[in-house]
Amino acid sequence: MAHPARPIDAELPSRRIALVDLLDRVLAGGVTITGDITLSMADVDLVKISLRALLASVSALAGPEEEGIR
């Protein structure tokens, strides 16, 4: 299939991909045929949970006041 070149130097350096968007994809997507050493689904969930806790503690200052919606 044709794969037109994308302008590499036009857009890449200026815009840094948000880590959370990247992790949505590289931790939950991708081919999952297991390696000899690899993350099981449960491990991925653990990573996400601890990541969430980590980021929450980092950004605690900006803590959300609005409950009710979620």
Binding site: V20, V26, I37, R52, E66
Partner: protein, 272 residues
């Protein structure tokens, strides 16, 4: 000190590996190489099992700095190579003990991998996130200051409660209209895509946006369809004031490597 080496896999391709990829640097600064696995080519690099072995991996993934560095390095390789030829990205942290071991595992799933490659290879994914815009921000904002000033008066308690109740019902209303809007936007964009995938909504702590996320979707598109798609998203943003839309991409087709139910559950309410 060098320990035993493992093989970190980035992506699978049908390409015969004719392209020069020796300039690519992968995780831990290792050189990326192409290795054959049956009639597939796998892009890999060698990793030290002292850092990327099972136990170390589990520990290191808890380290946000380590995780970010590795995730970005993994992505950088896949993203760069996806511009050269169609590929299937591997999930982060797929590590084999040797090329031979990898070839035997992947060889056993050859047909499945070829199917997936033909389905998504050469296509790209675009991400669309929708946040609910509180009604208060669309028109009359009730400021915390005015509520506080009022509470100095007697009888202010009742007034505050009334005001608070009004706020809550307004926020309920804007949540509902955002939900309906998100569903409409998703339905429209899905019609433009070869496949769609819903990711769980991100929490405000992770997204960095305090507004509730109603939709976190990925759309699989032909590589040249990005401009048209972006303008459709812009048009949707204009039409839906109850939503803030955020477009990301193009991504390598991470979200579409599995041939599972591509129509997930309906958007939003998603998290519930």
């Amino acid at each position: 000190m060098n320990g035993d080496l493992g093989v970190w896999a980035y992506a699978i391709t049908e390409d015969d590996g004719d392209h020069d990829i020796s300039w690519l640097t992968g995780v831990a600064g290792a050189t990326v190489r192409a290795t054959r696995a049956g009639n597939l080519t796998v892009l890999v690099s060698d990793v030290d099992l002292a850092e990327f072995g099972e136990v170390a991996l589990r520990r290191n993934l808890e380290d946000l700095t380590w995780l970010e560095t590795v995730a970005r390095a993994h992505h950088q390789v896949i993203d760069a190579v996806s511009r050269l030829f169609p590929l299937l990205p591997m999930r982060l942290a797929t590590v084999y003990t040797s090329d031979a071991s990898m070839a035997s595992v992947l060889g056993a799933h050859r047909e499945q991998l070829l199917d997936a490659l033909r389905r998504v290879g050469g296509r790209v994914e675009w991400g669309v996130k929708a946040y609910a815009v509180p009604e208060a921000e669309q028109e009359n904002a009730v400021s915390v200051e005015s509520a506080a000033a009022e509470s100095a008066d007697r009888g202010a308690g009742l007034a505050y409660l009334k005001r608070r109740k009004a706020q809550l019902s307004a926020s309920e209303k804007s949540w509902r209209s955002a939900l309906i809007g998100a569903r409409a936007v998703h339905a429209h964009l899905s019609g433009l895509a070869a496949a769609t995938k819903l990711h769980p909504p991100q929490s405000p702590q992770l997204s960095g946006n305090q507004r509730p996320m109603m939709l976190n979707a990925a759309y699989l598109l032909d590589a040249d369809a990005g401009t048209g798609f972006a303008s459709q998203v812009a048009a949707a943003a204009d039409a839906h004031h109850e939503l803030e839309l955020d477009l990301t991409g193009p991504w390598p087709p991470y979200s579409f490597t599995a041939d599972d139910g591509e129509e997930g559950p309906p958007p939003a309410g998603q998290g519930a």
